[in-house]
């Protein structure tokens, strides 16, 4: 798997079976997968659905950089992340991260580091519709302050 395909945005449901098959490697003894699902609550408020929007050019470059870096750092056999954009309903798959490694420590560490970095740095924004009729963009407070960390 080349790093050009390490991160993708998808505007249709993610084909996880194909992604999973791409992780296979005869030297891999461990596979870790993370899935982010649209849940029905956020900070105590009921959520009815949401929309993801991305700055596609930068998101894909930054996502590929993150996955490629962590794949190298953890000596993974394969790593891939796909993030949905557009409208999603409760229970829908929003983001999929899958990695394979020789041993489980590297697989867990890398999978978690990838989703953490994606959430921190990739320009994707969530717009939530709440049960009370309100709606809005989520802009978490953990801003980095400067143009680039």
């Amino acid at each position: 798997m080349s790093d050009e395909f390490a991160f993708r945005l998808a505007d249709t449901p993610i084909d996880t079976a194909a992604l999973h098959a791409g992780l296979r490697h005869p030297a891999a003894g461990a596979c870790a997968v993370f899935e982010g699902w649209v849940r029905d609550h956020h900070q105590g408020r009921g959520v009815h659905g949401l929309r993801y929007e991305a700055y596609a050019a930068l998101a894909e470059a930054e996502g590929a950089r993150i996955v490629g870096r962590l794949r190298a750092e953890h000596g993974l056999h394969a790593a891939v992340c796909v993030h949905r954009v557009g409208d999603l309903a409760i229970g829908d798959l929003a983001v999929w991260v899958g990695v394979s490694a020789s041993h489980r420590g590297a697989a867990f560490d890398a999978c978690r580091a990838i989703i953490d970095a994606i959430k921190q740095d990739v320009p994707i924004w969530k717009h939530e519709r709440y049960a009370d009729g309100d709606a809005g963009w989520l802009h978490p407070d953990e801003g980095t302050g400067e143009g680039r960390p």
Binding site: L58, I115, K119, D121, I124, R148
Partner: protein
């Protein structure tokens, strides 16, 4: 004056009412450009909570606007 294309996302796009605009600016750097546009569009987010990107790559606020580049102000992200 330098002409640049500015992209708006998420709450910045909602506040501006547009996703993109051509801007003629004499701001000395990207920070000053954001302050000008913030005043014009009434953006709530202070610059300290944003990042800035030029032509699809993260940039620094001290960079001057360059002609015909695409500038994006990046609100705090919430993917995942």
């Amino acid at each position: 004056m330098t002409r640049v294309q500015v992209l708006y996302f998420a709450s910045l796009r909602d506040a501006a009412g547009i996703a993109q605009e051509a801007v003629d600016t004499d701001a000395e750097n990207l920070a000053a450009l954001y302050e000008d546009l913030r005043a014009r569009h009434g953006f709530v987010l202070p610059r300290e909570r944003l990042r800035v990107a030029v032509d699809g790559a993260f940039a620094t606020w001290g960079d001057p606007p360059r002609a015909e580049t695409e500038i994006a102000f990046i609100p705090p992200v919430s993917g995942g």
